[in-house]
């Protein structure tokens, strides 16, 4: 029996004016658990106002190269009940420069299959070249509670938290060389 929890991709929104960005993944038992762990892993200190999670299995992804080679068929989506018109959230990667984020949310499309969603996303979001696309059925994306109380509780404490370098702890953080006295001189001196 596979005892591993499923993997969830995490999308973090830094400020209300920025898109949700993929920041990494967590393993969790269910959507709410995934959101709770995602908050701990990815938003304890960095700025955030909202998080989304989606099971890795529910994400349909294509690279630019796969698209160029015509590998457009998404695997086994029929089995996942995705044959009827549904909303998809489209995420797009446009740069190799950032190491931490993979794709940014660009918007919604309505489609009958993931492949159609990809085609519609390609036709709709044309302002930048896509290096990779992620299409996720909207119903499979789980979002953190947008209420002010939750935003305050989940994301506000990060603003007061800072990283402290060792030097901050002046007493024990000082390197031994700073306390060295001349050769042969007793430490007690």
């Amino acid at each position: 029996m596979d005892t591993q929890w499923p993997r969830w991709e995490v999308f973090k929104q830094d400020t209300p004016s920025k898109p949700h960005q993929a920041v990494g993944s967590v393993h969790a038992a269910d959507p709410q658990h995934a959101l709770l762990t995602a908050r701990n892993i990815f938003a304890r200190r960095p700025q955030a106002v909202s998080m989304w999670v989606a099971r890795a299995d529910d994400i349909f992804s294509w690279t630019k190269e796969e698209i160029a080679e015509g590998q457009l068929k998404a695997e086994s989506h029929e089995a996942r009940g995705l044959q009827h018109p549904a909303k998809y959230l489209a995420f797009r990667k446009t740069s190799h420069k950032r190491s931490m984020t993979f794709v940014d949310y660009v918007g919604e499309v309505e489609a009958t299959t993931p492949e159609e969603a990809l085609r519609k996303a390609q036709a709709t979001f044309t302002d930048a070249e896509a290096l990779a696309w992620w299409l996720v059925p909207a119903a499979r994306v789980f979002k953190s509670d947008p209420s002010p109380q939750t935003i305050e509780s989940w994301f506000a404490p990060a603003k007061d938290k800072t990283y402290k370098q060792q030097q901050y702890y002046a007493t024990i953080g000082a390197h031994v060389s700073k306390h060295k006295v001349g050769r042969g001189v007793e430490d007690e001196a």
Binding site: W5, V26, H27, A28, A29, D30, Q32, H33, L36, T37, R39, N40, I41, R44, Q149, E152, S153, W154, A156, P157, D160, T171, I172, G173, A174, H175, V176, K178, H179
Partner: protein
Amino acid sequence: MRPEVREALIAKLTALADDEVILAHRNSEWTGHGPILEEDIALANIVQDELGHATLWYGLRQALDGSDPDRLAFFRDAYEYRNCELVELPKGDWAFTMLRQFLFDLYETLWLEAAQHSTYQPLAEAVQKIMREERFHLQHTYAWVERLGLGTEESNRRLQQALDMQWGYAQQLFVPIPGEELLVAEGIVPDLAPIKARWLELATRHLQNSGLKLPINPGYQPTSRAGHTEHLWSILAEMQSTARWDAEAKVW
């Protein structure tokens, strides 16, 4: 502030801080041993938050009597600590740790909500900072209780076992310290009786909804915070050893 009120406030702040320090240290024992990396990190976050809360409470005490928080944490013996016994019990399994954290988070959240309007301004301000973190902690442990309680036969059994052990200990959270009635009369801290009633109602509902048996015979219910289990001695020995090894240490 009258001297006897000041004395009582110092004692109350110490009790609040000591609960946080000992619970944080207990939970820190999971670091590197969590059931999954994500939960290991999550619990370490909670630990750091609780230590931050202890720093706030000790800081309020320092403003009253000038005591150094580091001296209080690292150079007091067990008989001088004023934490409740619940937080010093060994960490047990994951169910034990999550249940204790849930019972404590629920108490703390309710206490903080009631303490928001404290007439002692520094305390009211500290409450605001702590409360938002506690709400998140509570969501996390609330979720774990539900999942373990309704998970498998084994997870339910382990959680019930933890509950049978902890239910009586948890009642000590609602035993006022000597002189606390002075603080309540001045509006500095909230009366524990209504908080206990609300805690009992909410804890019982969530635990029952999670498939656990309640009410149960609470068994041993500690009262005085001057008394401790033998576990406090060993946890302090470990926690304080570095600081006590060389109290004047200046180099590393």
